[in-house]
Symmetry: C2
Subunit: 216 residues, 2 copies
DNA sequence: ACCTGAACACCGTTCAAGT
DNA sequence: ACCTGAACACCGTTCAAGT
């Protein structure tokens, strides 16, 4: 991903003939998303940022939707990576794993709010037309399923379809993340302590509820 | 161009001088949102649907953002109304109240997915600049707080700041709704039974978790 | 094979002008 | 007071033409 080119002297300009324009556009799109929000995501601006004409992207993407799908897809991989890193360094008990998973999820959302919204805004992207995007989303969701399954194996989480329990957990975590970035939770956004408290509260509730299911 | 003569039975045309154009635009916007999704939400199209020139909306809204804010605001009132109706006809125990609240929330989202997304997409609307929108959102959130408080009074839900517990509950419900309309939950969307099952599962988990907090 | 520049239809916004 | 029509800058998309 990082541009460790064999020739460090040649940086930009006329080098996109190499076939890296596709990735350059994706990265430029993400950068604009970060700097200007969804408004920054217009094809001509992305092309400009990548140093090519406004027609060049059409050599690599069928249309704007396709670029958006590629940007979203990349986001799901980044999100999954973040969750992996978080669960790897957390204790292996389910409560800690869930909490770290949630922290990583919320962290990604707060660090890249526009990207996060873009990833989940089915309107800017018709999911069904982009199987790669669908696969990337599914692959991220698998991180939640994994943690739930491990929790069940360790008898910390009750029985039941892991997919079902995972949906409950994912919805809870996704809900916090989205309400947070939309600033719908009064007095929480921007307050790290309040955020951590809310996540802890959510996970405690979730964990207790999932445990309850075991004995019910 | 569709000029009806002065027949009083014909209700459209030149009657917006009455001062109802503002509301007509909001309704037209919602209709287009329902029919064409977010793509239908362009100012010129909305104006056309309302039967006025593309410059007319500027007499009632500062810009496109302001129209979007008004449409979102209206959505929050409709959502709150739906939640009210649902909780009114449900049994008064907290579990039933929560479940009916969730059903109404998810129902609104599934019935008006584009509107729902528009309401929660901070990108299309900078929250802070629209106090009325903020108030409408808060007012909807109060429905959740109400149910939580009643549950606490009835000793079904443990102690704690109602606002905190409500955030947990709202995040859970919001998460299901959003993941559902984005079709991120494999095999659930379109299957009424699966939807009801998921909601029940979420609420059971939530309720058990919130109850747990009581004794902890 | 990959990119450019002109062209087209269309959108958000403004403004002088109409009633 | 409220709306229209022309105008401007800009965007998504296409296509003939360049290298």
């Amino acid at each position: 991903m990082d541009n460790n080119d064999s020739n460090p002297l040649i940086q930009t300009s006329k080098r996109y003939h190499h076939g890296d324009l596709r990735n350059a556009l994706i990265r430029a799109g993400q950068a604009l998303l970060a700097e200007e929000g969804i408004a920054g995501l217009d094809l001509r601006k992305v092309a400009r940022a990548a140093g090519v004409s406004h027609a060049a992207p059409y050599r690599h993407f069928a249309d704007k939707q396709a670029l958006l799908a590629a940007i979203a897809e990349d986001g799901f991989y980044q999100l999954a990576e973040g969750m992996d890193a978080a669960t790897r360094r957390a204790p292996t008990n389910a409560a800690a794993q869930l909490e770290q998973l949630a922290h990583a999820y919320v962290r990604f959302a707060l660090d890249h709010p526009a990207h996060m919204r873009e990833m989940f805004s089915g309107l800017t992207v018709k999911r069904a037309a982009y199987p790669q995007l669908h696969a990337a989303a599914k692959q991220a969701f698998q991180r939640v399923v994994q943690v739930i399954e491990r929790g069940q194996n360790q008898r910390e989480i009750g029985p039941g379809e892991p997919a079902d329990l995972s949906m409950v957990a994912w919805a809870q975590i996704h809900g916090i993340a989205m309400l947070l970035i939309e600033d719908q939770l009064p007095g929480v956004k921007g307050n790290e302590q309040a955020i951590a408290g809310l996540i802890a509260h959510c996970i405690r509730t979730l964990y207790a509820g999932l445990g309850q299911n075991a004995s019910a």
